[in-house]
């Protein structure tokens, strides 16, 4: 009896190590932002470790978008949970994030220690301006493929109203977001992607979007 418990414990520690290593690898080496991470998680979890099938991965991915949070973390947590319960969930969620956090913390907090030095002060200023181009690029990448939706003025007006509510009127983001989502979903319009076509499932590549 005690030998069985010991080997069960050894097995689950072994699983936790594998989770740590696999998701740690992803957290350390994933290139291409959120999408790159998702591809790498697929390679680790499906191809290498065989923790779930490609189909299972695909359907898990598709439905995580409906929930709040970071896609790669949701995937990691769910796979970790499946492999090793709650411990697996937590190890996976931490392993994928910690490498990047530690590196960024070292860089950022190191710089902050030297803001007295004019070089560092100017460096931080340069970074503030650079950040605008980077975030602008992220936004542009999201907007560009939807250009042909121009004529769906209800959706566009709602989105612009949401933007102005946050930026001009400074209403709390969460409240604006929830109102926006409810109004958008209930509003009686359908863009081509969501047109209810008999017998087919609408798919305009939403799952290829820039969901990190």
């Amino acid at each position: 009896m005690s030998m069985q418990t010991e080997s069960a414990q050894a097995r689950s520690t072994d699983e936790l190590w594998k989770i740590l290593i696999s998701f740690g690898r992803v957290g350390l080496f994933a290139l291409g932002g959120g999408n790159g991470m998702i591809k790498m998680i697929s390679k680790e979890a499906v191809d290498m470790r065989k923790w779930l099938s490609g189909d299972e991965f695909g359907s898990l991915l598709g439905m995580t978008f409906l929930f709040p949070g970071l896609t790669a973390c949701k995937l990691s947590g769910m796979i970790g949970y499946r492999v090793a319960g709650i411990a697996g969930l937590i190890v996976a969620a931490l392993a994928i994030n910690i490498p990047g956090i530690v590196m960024t913390a070292v860089g950022f907090l190191f710089l902050l220690n030297y803001t007295g030095v004019p070089f560092v002060k100017e460096l931080l200023l340069a970074m503030q301006f650079a950040a605008m181009a980077l975030i602008g690029a992220v936004l542009y990448d999201m907007i560009r493929p939807t250009a042909k939706r121009r004529k769906y003025w209800i959706g566009i007006s709602l989105t612009v109203a949401f933007f102005l509510a946050m930026v001009l009127f400074h209403f709390p983001v969460v409240i604006c977001l929830l109102c926006y989502l409810v109004l958008y979903i209930l509003a009686p319009f359908w863009s081509p992607a969501t047109e209810p076509v008999r017998g087919s499932t609408a798919n305009d590549g939403l799952s290829k979007g820039t969901h990190p």
Partner: protein, 186 residues
Amino acid sequence: MPLLHAVTDLLVSFGQIGVFAFGGGDAMLKMIRDEVVAHRHWLTADEFSSLIAIDFLFPGLTAAKIAGVIGYRVAGVAGLLTAVLALNLPGIILVAIGFTFTAKHVNRPIVQKILEAMKFGAMAMIGAVLFDMMQSAAAHGNGTVLGVFLTVLFFVALEFFDAPVIGGLLTYVAVFLGLHFCGLPI
């Protein structure tokens, strides 16, 4: 106990962001900025923008890195772990609970509409955080014109000339610093 207090604050702040963060990671940045800069004053507006830039140099998800760095600054390792878990666990737990239900209904058109709503909502939120960053950059006065010009160049390079992110960022910073130390108003 100040540490417990700080950790609780992190838990509440990032937990609530984690619950309502529909639309993906970069959309979360607006919520994080409002909470961390305007409400909790854990970072100044300038520090927030700098942190966003520096985080592009390292692997990982932007929102998670920002949460972790702030958590560490506020309450050390305990703060780091609290911030990261508070941000991520709500979503993971909700997926675990809702998984079987959603898997059955995921092919309905209404679901596509929900996803679309989240996608466009995310655009509005990224636009909003960008706007915030522009406002705080504009407050810098004399350096702004040249800085904006460089930023636009960087954006064009990223979008239309396939400039690599890390190399581009380092080049940008080098040029920015170079111009400054040549005596230009930047």
